[in-house]
Structure formats: C-alpha cells, structure tokens
C-alpha cells in the first residue's frame, strides 16, 4: 500500500470536485475515486469526507440525491452543479499556476 500523504490545505475540495467531474458518485465512490486519481497518494476518511461534501453542497457547488448503488443498495449521490464546474475550472487554473511557480522556484539553480 502506498504511503498516505497529509492533505495540503484546500486541496481536498479541489480533489472532490475533480472526482465528481465525470459522473455522480456516492460518498464511498468519491473516496475511492480520489484514491484512484491520486494513484493512492490520498485516502479520504469519512471524518473529513462528509464534512467536505456537506460544506461544498452548502456552497452550492454540489447537489445530492438518493439513488441505487451498483449492488442495489441505497446511497446518497453527489453531482457537480454549474457553479461547481465553474469553481473546478477556476481552482484548477489557480492550482496549475501555483504548482508551476513552485516547480520553477524549486528547480532554479
């Protein structure tokens, strides 16, 4: 199992938005998808996952509804709202800019 990386402040929200950008997912699905797209670097525990989901919904970036899971169990699904997509685009751009700047700084001689 890969080493778990402590989350950088503010990155969890971006990861959740990104995880939901392809399709609606339930809480466990979001957790798994984050794990997958970060190649196992991040494992999101329920203690931080659910507060984050609720916070994002509160901000109007996510919308939730009850549905059936793959194995016919009831689960609450989250999907991106229009505002959520805009937020994802904005945060992605910001992150890319910051990461690029950090990389340039660290690689400078």
């Amino acid at each position: 199992m890969p080493r778990e990386t402590p989350l950088l402040q503010g990155t969890l929200d971006l990861l959740i938005l990104k995880a939901l950008s392809l399709q609606p997912l339930h809480g466990l699905g979001v957790s798994r998808r984050v794990e997958q797209i970060t190649r196992g670097a991040y494992v999101v525990r329920p203690g931080s996952l659910f507060p984050a989901l609720h916070r994002l919904e509160e901000q109007g970036w996510l919308r939730s509804s009850w549905g059936e899971s793959d194995n016919n169990r009831r689960a609450k699904y989250y999907e991106l709202t229009k505002a959520g997509r805009r937020q994802l685009a904005a945060e992605t751009e910001e992150w890319t800019r910051v990461a690029g700047a950090m990389r340039a700084a660290l690689e400078s001689t």
Binding site: H26, G27, L28, R45, P46, G47, S48, F50, P51, A52, L53, H54, R55, E57, E58, Q59, G60, W66, S69, N71, R73, R74, A75, K76, T81, A83
Partner: protein
Amino acid sequence: VTPLVARVRSFWSNLVRRREVEQALDDELAAYIDLVAAEYERAGMSPAQARRQALVDAGGIEQVKEAAREARVGHALATTERELRYALRSLRRSPTFLVIAIATLALGIGGATAVFTVINASLLRPLPAANDPASLVTVERVQPTGVVAEFSYPDYRDLRERSTSLEGLAAFNGTSMKLEDAAGTDRAWVSYVSDNFVGVAGVQATFHSPHLSPIVLTPIVASDISTMATVRIALANFRHPATPEESVLLAEHAVTRAGAEDASVVCFPECYVPGYRGLGKAVPAPSAAFLEAAWSTVAAAAARANVAVILGTERIVDGKPMATALVIDRDGTRAGFQDKVQLDPSEDSVYVPGTDRRVFTTGPLTFGVVICHEGWRYPETVRWAVRRGAQVVFHPHFHEAEPGRHRPTSYGEPANTFHEKAVLCRAAENTCYFATVNCASPGSPTTSAVANPDGTLLGYQPYGEEGLLIADIDLAAATGLLATRCKYA
C-alpha cells in the same frame, strides 16, 4: 460566492427543516457503512465482522456526524459574519454613503407609510356611507379654464332640490380653525357641511392633537346659507320714501323679498326710515315713538324672512336726530347701532354726530357700516372695520341728481363724479368687499353696487331702476390683507 438560490435553500433547510437534515445525515452515513461492510463481506468476512470493521474504518460515526454538522453551520455562520463585517467596514469608511443610505431608507419607509395611511383611509377603507359606498359621487363645477370652482349655496340648493338621479346631495366647504382648551391651542381643518351631510355619509370624528386632549367633534350642521363660505347679500335699491309711513312699508317689503332670495343680510340707504333730512326733503319732525314702532315692524319682518337687516335710520339723542344704522339679526333681535360719526358739513345743522365705531357679525359674516360721507371721504372708517375682521363694509348713502351734472348709464364713467371710483378704492385698499346702497332716483350719479376685494366691480343696480341688488360674496377672498398691513392705523 455561493449562488443565492442555494444559499436561501440551505438556510431554509438548516433553520426550518432541521430534523429532516439531521435524519438525512444519519441515513447517508448508515448507507456508507453498509456499502463498506458489503465490500468486506465480498472479501470473505462474516456480516458481523464486516460491519464492525466498517465502523472502525469510519473512525466513530458520531464524530463524523458532528464534523458534518459543523461544516454546514460553520459555513453559514462564516459567510454571514464575513458579509456583515464587510458591510460595516464599508459603511464606516464612507460616512457620506452611510448618511445617504439611512436617509434614503427613512424617506422611503416614511413616504411609503404616509402614502399607505392616506390610501388606506381614502381608498381601502370604504366610506361609512349609506349602504353602497360605490354609489357615492362627487359633483363638481368646472370653469372653462379647467379650474374646479366652488358652488354657491343657492346653486347647491337648486341642484339638491331638482336632481332626480341622486338620492341625496350634501355640500361641504373647508376652512382652518383655531381649537382651544385648557391645555393649549391648535389649528384644525374644519368643514362646513350641509344639514343632510351626516345622514348621507355617516361621519363622526375625533380630533387628535399633540397640544390638546382628544376632542370629539360633534358635527355642527348648517341648516341654511349662513354657515357656508359664500354669503348672499341684498342691497335695497328702492325709491326714497315719500312719507315716514311709506318708508316702513317699503322696508318691510324689501326685507320680505330679500328673504325670498335667500339673502343673509339686506342693507338700506342712509336714513331710509323715516327719510333723509337734507337736500330739500321735507321729513316730519323726529319722533322717538314712531321710530320705535317702525324698528319693531322691520325686526318682525326680519325674523319672518330670516334675514339680517342694516336699516339706515335716525335715533333721537337729546331731542335731536342722529343719523345711524340699526342692525337687526336674523331672529329679529336688535344687534345695535352704528352712528354716523363723520357728518358732511352740510349736515351739521340737521344731525348730531355719533362718537363710536363697531363691527357686527351674523353667521360667518363680519361686517362694518360706514354712512355716506364717511365712506366717500373718510377711508379710515372703512379701514377701521376691516382691521377688526370685517369682510364686508356696508355703505348706506343718499345721493340724487343735481341739475346740469353728468347722468351715468354705466359704472365708473370718467365724466361722472368721484363717488363710484371711491367705492372701488375702499375695497381695493383694504382687501374687503364694499357694498354701497342708494335710493333709486332718475339721473343719480351713484347707484347701489358691490366692489370685490381686488377693486373690481362685482355688480351694480341699473341707474334709476328700483329693485334688490343681490350679490354672492366669497368670504375667503375678503382677507383684509392690505388693511391689516397698514402701519398708520
């Protein structure tokens, strides 16, 4: 920034549907545990074991729930606090804007409240009228210029009596009045209303004033013209009586006719009863007994006709006649005399002069009396009365044709004597009505006439023609402005 719709929706659910939100969180976490447990089962654990492992992974369901709740509420609080703080900071940084914002709000709220109060009273709450408020209509008189004008009382009475399409017709006219009690004084807008007004509209009022204790206004109802702002006056322009007896008959006749014309007051020429002692008139020697009887006859006629009378007459003082005007009220009581104070030099041997001046009131009308020479050549006498509230000054006089002089056919002709011009001046210089009365006689340089407060002519009796000159005068126009501004009186 959170979209407004989502904010409102979550605000609503967090506040109002709290229990549902809580339940939804429980359900969501239970479903999550189920999903994780199912995965462990598929990996080979027993259901009980799988479930226990799922709960351990979750790290304590209650803590998760608590954190989720805090995320919701914390977000809402943080957002609200941030926005409040930002708003306060902005306001503190621009006090001008703050003042303008507060003033705008105050004006807006105040204005809306005031408008609503008016609309509520006038439109939303129907008049407590008869049975059907929708059947109430307003009758207005519109002049060709588009100005809405008042009705004279007689016009109103005609409409009321002859209208077939209206169930009733009530009249009102407003004025500002001073109310006074032990606590102080205040002004109130008061309406004069016709006698059927309460019956038609069923109105009753309490007057609230910051200066007075509440006053319940009992409607005082006008039973006739005397309380309306338009007052009808009559000038008795009849022939000079041939005998004292005829003077009484003619006076009685004129009073009766004035009553039939709905006049409030009728005024006679100078010394009409028993007749003018001058200009070669042969009037029998003064008689106190005759005068007393004559006054009683005229007073009785006044009471019958419900008309106040200004009777040019004489009274006996120390055996000598004094030219005077007897004022009789509408109920026939004697209000008093206005003696002629300023005699014409030619009268010094005929009459004794009076000493005092006074004003009289009947209904809403206050008036003064100046006799002949006084009105022509002593404008102070007119000003004196107007400064004491007179809206009309009556001017009994006596004037006949003199041989070879101009015989007028219309009012104010340049070739005529100054007298008619003086009538206009007395009105204009005091802002009052001036009503002059003469006997009807052929070729007389003056006739009976009424001048408006602006110095224009309201009307005059055709020269030498016997009759009653009727005039409706508007009390509101007789402000007495120029008289009260006089610095020499």
